[in-house]
Symmetry: C2
DNA sequence: CAGTATCCTCGAGGATACTG
DNA sequence: CAGTATCCTCGAGGATACTG
């Protein structure tokens, strides 16, 4: 993409194509093997190969051998991959609210409580939830000009 | 896309192309006019036209007239558009952490505190932050089969 | 200034056959 | 089963000129 001096474009350069987030969604849901992902997504196998390799290169997924004759690998989230969870959750939350008119086909719940989870933006200082209108953008220029 | 019976694909069908999220990022940052967005993004004008029209159709942006001779419109976020804020914030947070090796080029702050904000996933019941590994997926089948 | 109209390119995505 | 190899299509994206 252009202007990679921005974290959003940088993130989109990694997962901003038509399949990557869907592949990751599958892995988050417990699909780790090539065939499982291919069948679930209905993606052409050659494409799945390139997507997986790319995500591995980018450090989002890693190949873990699960069998040795023949040698077979499965795909697991790295820490960086797991950190993409909020992206998927926020996307799903938005889709639920605005594309499914509130009828969520699936709900994400807290493993220990069983209660639904939500994605929010919060202030690190006052700990209050921050509305989109209360967000400001600060250039960290000082760091460079000092 | 395929399988639109999923909120993530549904969301991606609206903003999952190469430009939409970047356009929205611009609007969030205060760029509301055609020329501002075009210059900031370096996007071809015909493409910007189709992206903006599409986002308006999808109910994410709305045209607001700001001048009448000649008639000129600017683009504003609707409520649905504003609800995409967590997607942008989580994407930026991930880009900062994993693509900029922690050196955020820009920081989002809370308007009232001035302190940095963060995007988290939280349990609606116990109010604790929920780690990606503590998220479970529940099919809401009961609703349909009843 | 905020687009619209045209035309073109290129590569992501897809279908299909094949292999250790 | 987990890919690789080939070939093809089509449309998103882009460049450029034009207009009220």
């Amino acid at each position: 993409m252009q202007r990679a001096n921005d974290s959003i474009s940088a993130a989109l350069a990694v997962i901003g194509d038509r399949w990557s987030l869907l592949v990751l969604r599958g892995v988050f849901r417990g699909l780790h093997r090539f065939g499982e992902l291919r069948d679930d997504l209905g993606i052409a196998s050659n494409l799945l190969t390139t997507r997986l390799n790319r995500l591995v290169e980018q450090g989002v997924l890693e190949k873990v051998q699960y069998q040795d004759r023949p040698v077979r690998f499965e795909y697991r989230l790295t820490d960086a991959g797991r950190d993409l969870s909020p992206v998927l959750v926020s996307l799903m939350q938005w889709g639920d609210a605005h594309q499914m008119s509130g009828n969520a086909p699936t709900t994400l719940v807290h493993a220990t409580c069983g209660a639904p989870i939500e994605n929010v933006t919060r202030c690190t200082q006052c700990r209050e939830d921050v509305d989109a209108t209360a967000i400001r953008n600060t250039n960290d220029h000082q760091l460079e000009t000092t």
